[in-house]
């Protein structure tokens, strides 16, 4: 436990999901191209009514959707070093960051952490924001997962991670690669404390994010159609010089290959989570074994 001890309880920033005024009244479905009215889209949890395409979800909406009554408390994340490499491509990374933060009014980086209850079970959720530099994982995101894990341990809560990320934040170089072991440690903290760690793989979950905390869930759910994989499809195509199989790296493909537990429609996601958390955390009366019928095996599957 010693690596948990220098943790300081995060300042609680507060609050409940607030209604936002949408910038666009109409959204084009990336799946079928149909124009979708924002109010209808909102009511459908950002799933296209025509084709079922699951649109990417802002982290606030994700949190509101998962927590009971849409109520949650966002925690203030620890301040981390900004632009540690003084990285510059065609533009300075520091400027890029400021630009995105400005456009995002308030968001410091690509992950949001909140706590509340899911189906009455205490839970901490770390939700990714793909709109923030492709949800890429640098030091701030790694730190967000660690903060979420520590909070889950302290509150004896479940940890739920909802990645939506292209992978590592290149502009933080090797330090973004180091978030792979660091977020793996976050998961370990929760598991060693005996708390459940659930993952909801949202579109996309690739690169260093998929090859660390995202693939280490006790239970792993995926949203329909989400792209999930390690290597980018283009890189693979260039390497093997052939067309990729139909549905390659989609959630359903991973299910078929045994890499996720369930592919769940967004409208059923909360109920599924509640059921799983309930089964894992509320095990029922301790005397159940005593009242169970004595010859269960006779009516079990072996008689089928």
């Amino acid at each position: 436990m010693s690596w948990l001890t220098n943790f300081v309880l995060p300042k609680i920033r507060a609050v409940v999901a607030k209604k936002e005024v949408p910038d666009n009244l109409w959204h084009k479905c990336p799946g079928c191209g149909q124009m979708l009215f924002h109010r209808e889209l909102e009511a459908n949890l950002h799933v296209c009514a025509a084709c079922g395409h699951h649109l990417r979800l802002a982290p606030e909406k994700r949190l509101a959707m998962l927590f009971d009554d849409g109520k949650y408390t966002v925690i203030e994340l620890p301040k981390t070093i900004v632009d540690p490499l003084k990285f510059r491509d065609r533009k300075r990374y520091a400027d890029r960051l400021k630009e995105v933060q400005g456009a995002k009014s308030g968001a410091r980086d690509a992950a949001l952490v909140a706590h509340g209850t899911v189906g009455g079970v205490a839970a901490v959720v770390c939700a990714f924001d793909f709109g923030f530099m492709g949800g890429s994982m640098g030091i701030a995101v790694g730190e967000a997962l660690l903060a979420a894990a520590r909070l889950a341990v302290l509150q004896e809560a479940a940890l739920i991670a909802v990645p939506s990320s292209g992978g590592a934040r290149m502009q933080e170089g090797i330090l973004s690669l180091m978030q792979m072991p660091r977020t793996t440690l976050a998961v370990e903290m929760v598991k060693e404390a005996g708390r459940p760690y659930l993952v909801i793989l949202a579109d996309p979950t690739t690169g260093g994010v998929s090859a660390s905390f995202a693939m280490l869930g006790d239970v792993t759910l995926a949203e329909p159609g989400a792209v999930i994989g390690f290597a980018g499809a283009r890189v693979i195509e260039e390497t093997i010089r052939e067309k990729l199989p139909e549905g390659f790296q989609r959630a359903e493909y991973l299910l078929e290959h045994g890499m996720v537990d369930l592919v769940v429609h967004r409208r059923d996601l909360k109920a599924t989570l509640e059921r799983i958390l309930g089964l894992l955390c509320r095990k029922g009366p301790p005397a159940l074994a005593a009242i169970a019928p004595p010859h269960t095996s006779e009516r079990g599957w072996d008689r089928a």
């Binding site: 003084k86 491509d89 330090l175 370990e188 090859a211 890499m259």
Partner: protein, 317 residues
């Protein structure tokens, strides 16, 4: 045939001349011996000057030099009684990662290394050092074996990255890497990782979340290849040089960032010019690290490793 990098071309000429002179003389000709001596001094001067101020891009080329010693060379020279152990017990044997039991300077260890291969045939055999899930699952299996028998784990990292292929994805490349990282962090024995050439992204960290991470003087270690980074951020592979600078992938920068613990000096002109010396220096550095780690008990080793990774990322360049 020796391979010379672009910036080593003057070297190719000088050494070509030396070779010629040696060929025409039987050693008794004093004039020729003198000339050879003069040329050799020039070679040394050139190497000193060039290697004193290598650019990150030049280091990328050195780290990938085809004559550079590879994982198998290190195992061959450093590990006695090496007994390779094959397979992930699930699907296949992946020769991009070799590993097994052996003795390092008298002590039983588990050694695991990427192997890139040295010629066309062996490169294909070892898939250029790019592992599929089976490679990482085998590494994990061997780490668990080491944990069970309290054997230190020595890893030698040299890979362009995990293999990007349909089969690798279908069998869970991401999960395999994640579990290998988890195994690195879980074991109760010393884990010493040495980046000997190319430390390519997830394929490298899968074997490198160690108590001590060493890096050869001209090795590189990065989240993405400079070419890949350039094509994404500059939208042109032509800017690989710029990306190599920006990524801070040299051993010297990584030491400053606290990502590695020590640099293993290479012989003048790089490990590819003197395998034996480079590997011996690596062995000495590993031995030094191992002796200090062996003073810790299992739980302390594990905690120290975890604390170390939790502290990475507080210091910038």
């Amino acid at each position: 045939m020796r391979h010379f990098l672009d910036f080593e071309q003057p070297l190719a000429e000088l050494e070509g001349k030396i070779e010629e002179l040696r060929h025409i003389s039987d050693g008794g000709d004093l004039n020729i011996a003198e000339e050879v001596g003069r040329l050799e001094a020039k070679v040394e001067k050139f190497l000193r000057q060039t290697y004193a101020k290598l650019t990150p891009w030049q280091k990328v080329q050195i780290a990938r030099h085809p004559d550079r010693p590879h994982g198998g060379d290190y195992l061959g020279r450093l590990i006695a009684d090496f007994t390779p152990l094959a397979g992930d017990r699930t699907f296949a044997e992946d020769r991009a990662i070799i590993g097994g039991l052996g003795r390092f300077r008298g002590r039983s260890v588990v050694a695991i290394a990427h192997e890139k291969g040295a010629d066309t045939k062996t490169r294909v055999r070892h898939n250029f050092g790019m592992a599929r899930p089976e490679g990482y699952r085998k590494a994990r299996r061997l780490m668990e074996l080491a944990d069970r028998f309290k054997l230190p784990v020595l890893t030698f990292v040299d890979t362009a990255g995990a293999y990007p292929g349909v089969d690798a994805e279908a069998r869970g490349q991401a999960e395999a890497i994640a579990r290998a990282i988890e195994a690195c962090l879980d074991i109760h024995v010393p884990l010493i990782a040495t980046v000997i050439g190319e430390g390519g992204s997830g394929g490298a960290i899968a074997l490198a979340a160690g108590n001590v991470v060493l890096m050869l003087e001209h090795a590189i270690y990065s989240v993405i290849s400079p070419e890949g980074c350039a094509s994404i951020l500059w939208r042109s592979g032509e800017n690989a040089r710029d990306a190599a600078e920006a990524l801070r992938l040299t051993a010297q920068d990584l030491l400053r960032l606290n990502v590695i613990d020590a640099i293993v000096p290479e012989p003048l002109g790089g490990a590819h010019r003197a395998h034996e010396a480079a590997i011996a220096a690596t062995g000495d550095a590993i031995e030094k690290a191992l002796l200090s780690l062996l003073k810790l008990d299992g739980p302390s080793l594990r905690t120290a490793r975890r604390t170390k990774f939790l502290q990475i990322g507080t210091r910038g360049i």
